[in-house]
């Protein structure tokens, strides 16, 4: 089937098998590998992406169901190095260890803060209860979301998708992060 949709603010088109899961479309065809797969039962949330701003598990949707919609993956959150406040919060509060659940957690948190800019701890825990983390014990993830909520209330919500790119292009000065070589230790690992 032929589909066209938006991914991280860019229009994309593809011919796909009707049964192709959205997560496989993103990972295997678009090579957006930040979105992970941790279970077979839509339980773990590692594959969480935003569908028109709503957090969805991309292993529970066919790619054809995303036709005509806008998808945001973790790769769309920090165009030109400007971290989303939730990404900043995760870094600030040490809300990750192995990093496998992190993209899904970040996107689920963004969806929460979009609909509820000032959540209580219980509201955060409930909103993230579809996302499993095996490393952190969640306490720092909750703090990270609170940190981001505080920052976003002070500065306004961060745009995602196309909006993020427009905002980044409009922002003056050098990018805020991502310029140093923290990735160096694992650099060059692509199997190609």
């Amino acid at each position: 089937m032929h589909i066209s949709l938006g991914v991280n603010g860019q229009p994309v088109e593809a011919d796909v098998e009707p049964r192709l899961l959205l997560v496989h479309y993103l990972r295997d065809l678009l090579r957006l590998t930040g979105t992970q797969i941790g279970c077979d039962t839509t339980t773990c949330g590692a594959c969480t992406v935003l569908l028109d701003g709503m957090a969805v598990k991309s292993c529970g949707l066919f790619s054809v169901q995303a036709a005509g919609r806008e998808i945001t993956t973790v790769e769309g959150l920090a165009p030109h190095g400007h971290l989303n406040p939730v990404q900043e919060g995760f870094k600030e509060c040490f809300a990750l260890q192995c990093g496998f659940c992190t993209p899904g957690m970040v996107l689920a948190s963004i969806a929460l803060l979009t609909s509820n800019p000032d959540p209580t701890e219980d509201e955060i825990r409930w909103a993230l209860s579809g996302n499993i983390c095996r490393c952190t014990g969640y306490a720092n993830i909750v703090r990270a979301v609170q940190w981001a909520a505080d920052k976003m209330r002070a500065t306004g919500p961060a745009p995602t998708g196309m909006g993020a790119i427009l905002a980044a292009n409009a922002a003056p000065g050098p990018s805020q992060g991502g310029s140093h070589g923290a990735q160096g230790a694992h650099g060059g690992r692509d199997g190609a």
Binding site: A78, C98, G130, A139, A185
Partner: protein, 788 residues
Amino acid sequence: MGAVMAPEAARKPGIGYSLPRREDDRFIRGQGTFVADVTAPRMAHMAVLRSPLARARIRSINAARAFTLPGVLVVITGELLARRNLAWMPTLSGDVQSVLAVDEVRFQGQEVACVVAEDPYTAHDALQLIEVDYEPLPALVDPTEALSPDAPLVRADKPDNRCYEWETGDLEATDHAFQEAAHVTTLDTYYPRCHPAPLECCACFADVDPDEGRARIYLTSQAPHAHRTILAQLMGLPEQQVQIISPDIGGAFGNKVPLYPGYVVTVVASFLLRRPVRWIEDRTGNLLSTGFARDYRMHGELALDAGGRMIGLRVRLLSDHGAFFADAQPSKFRAGLFHIVTGSYDIPVAHISATGVYTNKAPGGVAYRCSFRVTEASYLIERLVTTAAYELGIDPAELRRRNFILPDQFPYRSATGFSYDSGDYRAALDLALEKAGYEELRKEQEEGRRKGRLVGVGMSSFTEVAGAGPSKDYDLIGIKMFDSAELAIGPTGKAILKLGVQSQGQGHETTFAQIVAHELGISPADVIVHHGDTDNSPYGLGTFGSRSTPTGGAATAVVCRRLVDKAKKIAAYLMEVDDDDVAWEPGRFYLRSAEDREVTIQEAAAAAYTNPPDGMEPGLDAVSYYDPPQLTFPFGTYVAAVEVNPETGEWKVLKFVAVDDCGVRINPMIVDGQIMGGLTEGYAIAAMQRIDFDAQGASSGSNFEDYLVPTAWETPRFELHEMVTPCPHHPLGAKGVGESPTVGSPAAFVNAVVDALVHLGVRNIDMPLTSDKVWEAIEDSRPRKAAG
């Protein structure tokens, strides 16, 4: 070396500083590289066909229909592997394991065949078209029946279903102590089979060039060098031609220590097809077939004298290892480090005997976030001590205090032969009780009981054992359990550190840079850490059993000090003085007689390349292989307060206080993160993580809908406190921390729930404490109404 760092030094940037992790930046952007993210042109995809039955004879396998699907490249069966002598592989525990079943399947989920296809969907479609004719056989599920003469035989090569018999301690002296005892407390408990279930399942990417004999293999591996050696031997490839890359790993917790059939077949497939092949395990495969943990039936007896002093401990263990002995623990002791069962207590004599059996279940017994049976041992003694307190009418805290090993008894030789390095158990208990508000909690409990509220307080004063291990007793496939660090300081004074240990979320790229920074007096930003790639790191045994800091951390400190020794000669040469006239403090060499005359470490490094002294070999690099003189003994006390709903058996944690002493903390933020995560897994084991098997050997927990792991909603809040008793034999005073919380906390939760019900006569509920089991315990305790 040998000098333990002074406390003031601990506060300088370097060790003791909560440096933000340099790993985080790539992960929050989705730029990590996990094995499933690795791809290559012409890559093919593999899927695994698993047995639906726990025990059956394979009459035939017909894969002809699979080839009718366009895109199917090869179907690999046990028969095909057997022709190349690859149908069986060695385990890390000296047994063998079926790669793909040839004659018989021995557990549900066992690997039977693999399909490799152009895309993963086709590979999975083709699995459905493989016809396997099974003749079902009765399965051996209950380990207590394994040794009976009429039990089904799991393995023809193991004629009595017996995996091992093992014992330690002094049986005669222990029996004598029990004859002298004023009181004996007995506990029979089952530490249930559970699964580490890291969020990332196992995966392998193999790119084998048969002409060159070269294999590049990405593996979800906690022990890449050991896996290289085994794979090279198994596949008949020269070891120097095999590169194992363990890239970013999405959690492991012991699950990624064993070698798995999926890895072997992926490599074979790549060899056969002359193409890169990738296999990504699904969650069901992970939960059904990869390294299970625990599954220990424990009988413990504690002998006490009239004054409540422990005088002897006797333990009998029955361990269910599933169909293949693949627990991958590196000691010469079949029950791992279960010696630690005497715990924090001065018990003069003890005896442990263990029987391991085979059953028709997936291979089990891996160390799930613990150093090889330490979790089970710690659980048993902490449950026994608490039970004894109830029987003697002594407060559980008081009974512990009466029996602790005291600080002046260290080094302490335990009745099972372990040499504890250091500890202050009473201080940890007192701090935890104070922070928890123990007296108030007991009052709340008392008042609650009058109103029908069930409040319980439980504690666990655990002693952990980590850092395997001294070469005398610890090896993996014969390779001693040392670990390594290779350090090169370049002409500009920047350092490259390569490690034999490997991170699965522990943050080694940060903490090991801090160790180098601390030792050399340079910025952590000037240190890059490489690990996980066998072509780019010295041989090591990997990261498990909380061993990275005790072994790799020590190796890092030692190699730094070696380079400082060499740099000192260079500094003396530059200052034109004798070596003995030069002193070192991190960052600079200075003249003893004129302290402002100095050569910085960067200047010395530059001179090592540009102006070395006559006769000195140029360059500034070295490698250290550190064989730890002893194990390390982290300890602490955890206190849990819970409330049980008397109507439903549900329980919630009101308060949890953790006091951990893991010696010197390299990065306190990361240490706290490890503790937080470990407590969550301890809670999970105590509260929900259960995998049962029915009479046919079918698993009840093959996905995350059935095997419950805690989310943010269920996870309790934890309050953390620290003590620091430096390890006397570690160059940095560190002991390791990743597993203390998982080792120590399950007993605290169970002790708390039992404590809430103890006045009803409840003495034990086996984990996980699901609401139905707790409710049943309450119901059973109610006085029975007279019939009629």
